[in-house]
């Protein structure tokens, strides 16, 4: 017989009280683990979705704006590019130090050209990269799969009165309309999208690139580092992170984290109060027993130890159970939160178990102090 065993035996005797004491911690930890786990997975999922959403770095030729004027009379201005980008630059971008963080590098070319009698802007990109570069595009018909096919923006299709299966001519060549874009509200609505090779031919500028869109995998993303490295790889290029996207990612994730932390804190606080109330009630109920223990020579520390072991057992078991339940709940409800590949996060479970144990022991401090301060005589009464 030792204090640990004494505590355990007492718990077994008062099962319903032990269950009630543990219930608060169980619910608190289960909620904490479930929310933390879901939040953590949502962070990953949001990040993943945002990464899939598109590029977050744009690489374009460095340009300088020249103002033209005569005396005080402004005659407008023009941008003068210091260098040009070429398709070969894709390899240089893809070979930076953080190349493992780069998901895709897509070259784009823009050119104005006549299409069936209408002057429209052409956007060229590798037809194989279309799904990567613009995954949110909705298309009636099919996307561009090969050279000789075009995709018409909604406004361009209306202007040309063409639809999937139709043909347009440009540069003395016939192009098949593979599909029509649903309205996007962007400039693409008025464009003709084709394979980059076709647009380069139309522009009579083989190998030319107007800009690159770089999608960096940005979980713990060192965007600034990637920007700097691309800048070093292409000294004549202007490399800019799309700050808004990065910031919105951070804000979304932070909001999720704050929500999870707030809810978990409240539930854990309630759990801690439940421990305090039930253990305090237990001390009240066991006043005489504590008096007997004091009478047979238990020191203050031994009484403390007894109550801490009791609460420790309950807290540990209910925390473990709560953590397991939280993990299971998070796994089951993950698809409802848009998490496509639910996983098990061990860190929230470990943190939750530790937090439950600490919380339970903290909740036992006031009752333990009260128990240790009990006068043995008043406790026993019968003496």
């Amino acid at each position: 017989m030792n204090i640990r065993k004494l505590a355990w035996k007492n718990l077994l005797r008062r099962k319903s009280r032990a269950v009630f004491t543990g219930l608060g911690i169980f619910l608190g930890i289960a909620t904490f683990v479930a929310i933390s786990s879901i939040t953590s997975q949502m962070e990953g999922a949001v990040q993943d979705q945002l990464d899939r959403f598109g590029a977050n770095i744009v690489v374009s030729p460095r340009a300088e704006r020249l103002s033209l004027g005569f005396g005080d009379i402004a005659l407008g201005g023009t941008e003068v590019a210091h260098s040009r980008l070429a398709i070969a630059d894709k390899e240089r971008i893809a070979s930076i130090h953080h190349k493992d963080r780069i998901r895709s590098v897509v070259p784009f070319i823009l050119a104005a050209s006549d299409v069936s009698g209408k002057n429209l802007v052409w956007m060229g990109l590798p037809s194989t990269d279309l799904a990567i570069a613009r995954p949110w595009w909705k298309i009636t018909g099919s996307p561009v799969r090969e050279r000789g096919e075009v995709l018409l923006g909604a406004e361009a299709a209306a202007m040309l009165d063409k639809g999937p299966g139709g043909t347009v001519t440009a540069g003395n060549r016939l192009y098949r309309v593979a599909g029509v874009l649903h309205p996007t509200g962007e400039k693409e609505d008025g464009m003709v999208i084709a394979d980059i090779g076709d647009v380069q031919s139309l522009a009579k500028n083989p190998g030319a690139v107007t800009y690159f869109e770089v999608a960096a995998l940005c979980k713990d993303c060192p965007v600034e580092d990637i920007v700097a490295q691309i800048g070093q790889a292409l000294p004549g290029a202007r490399v800019s992170a799309i700050r808004q996207v990065v910031e919105s990612r951070k804000a979304a994730v932070d909001q999720l984290r704050r929500l999870g932390f707030g809810v978990s804190s409240i539930v854990l606080l309630i759990g801690g109060l439940m421990v305090l109330v039930t253990v305090m009630g237990g001390v009240q109920e066991r006043t005489r027993e504590i008096g007997v223990l004091r009478a047979v020579g238990f020191r203050t520390r031994s009484i403390f130890s007894l109550l801490f072991w009791e609460t420790g057992w309950v807290s540990l078991l209910s925390s473990l159970l709560g953590a397991a339940t939280g993990i299971a709940a998070a796994y089951l409800v993950a698809p409802s939160f848009g998490i496509e590949h639910p996983g098990i996060r061990m860190l929230p479970a470990l943190l939750g178990t530790a937090a439950g144990l600490v919380l339970g022991l903290l909740g036992a401090v006031p009752p333990a102090r009260r128990a240790a301060a009990l006068s043995p005589t008043e406790a026993i009464r019968t003496l």
Binding site: M1, N2, I3, K5, L6, K9, N10, L12, R13, R288, E289, V292, L293, R294, A295, V296, G297, F298, R299, T300, R301, S302, S305, S375, P376, T377, I380, T382, L383
Partner: protein, 241 residues
């Protein structure tokens, strides 16, 4: 063997000098003990009697270091109890005093053996040694073979024997008993008193609070309290040393 006569000197194991105990504050003061002084020598079997409210239980609580008197000094086994802090008193109780209560106060969820081992719980003694000590004490009080029974499976007399075994676990020189036969029938009560006599015969100093004058038959001394004062202090039998 030397026979001590009344008035002969011997170093007391318990020394009370002017002990008073006053409960409450202004307006609600209640005097439980007033100027109680006496000595108890090692090996004495003193029975403390008195009407309800005479201060018997308060006296026993003070003797056991469960309460500190409002006035006066209490020295037991050479230790001034009023000078000890709370944990010092707990150590003193564990090493010097064995308590036996009227209501046994066994822990209902522990077996007889485990109840006897309770005072040893905080100690770093091997489990085997604890079990061995508990079993030998249970055997000494006549409970051989009932070590694994819960208090609910024991009779009143057996429960009190377990309580006595628990009180003896640290081999204390002083046993304090509060109406140990109060909840027992007369035959069982006699057996318990025999047990106390036997322990006294083996050198334990016994102080027993009782209402029952029949308990005087085995005692060597009778101390009667009345209204918190010692009304009568009588030597009933010579003290063998």
């Amino acid at each position: 063997m030397k026979i001590m006569r009344a008035g002969e000197t011997m170093e007391p194991i318990i020394h009370l000098n002017g002990v008073s105990m006053i409960y409450g504050g202004n307006g609600t003061r209640a005097t439980a003990l007033s100027g109680v002084s006496f000595d108890v020598r090692p090996g004495e079997y003193a029975v403390i009697t008195g009407e309800s409210g005479a201060g018997k239980s308060t006296l026993l609580a003070i003797l056991g270091g469960l309460q500190i008197p409002s006035e006066g000094t209490v020295r037991i086994h050479g230790v001034d109890l009023s000078a000890l802090p709370s944990d010092g008193l707990a150590d003193f109780r564990r090493e010097t005093i064995g308590f036996v209560f009227q209501a046994y106060h066994l822990l209902p969820y522990l077996t007889a053996r485990e109840n006897v081992m309770v005072p040893m719980s905080p100690e770093r003694v091997s489990p085997g040694e604890k079990v061995e000590r508990a079993d030998s004490l249970l055997a000494a009080v006549g409970l051989d073979g009932k070590e694994d029974r819960l208090p609910s499976q024991l009779s009143g007399g057996e429960s009190q024997r377990v309580a006595i075994a628990r009180a003896l676990v640290h081999d204390p020189p002083v046993l304090l008993a509060d109406e140990p036969t109060g909840n027992l029938d007369s035959a069982t009560g006699e057996q318990i008193l025999d047990l106390f006599s036997g322990l006294n015969g083996r050198g334990k100093t016994v102080l027993m609070v009782t209402h029952n004058p029949a308990n005087l038959a085995r005692a060597t001394r009778s101390i009667r309290l009345r209204d918190g004062r010692v009304e009568e202090d009588r030597i009933l039998a010579p003290l063998a040393v």
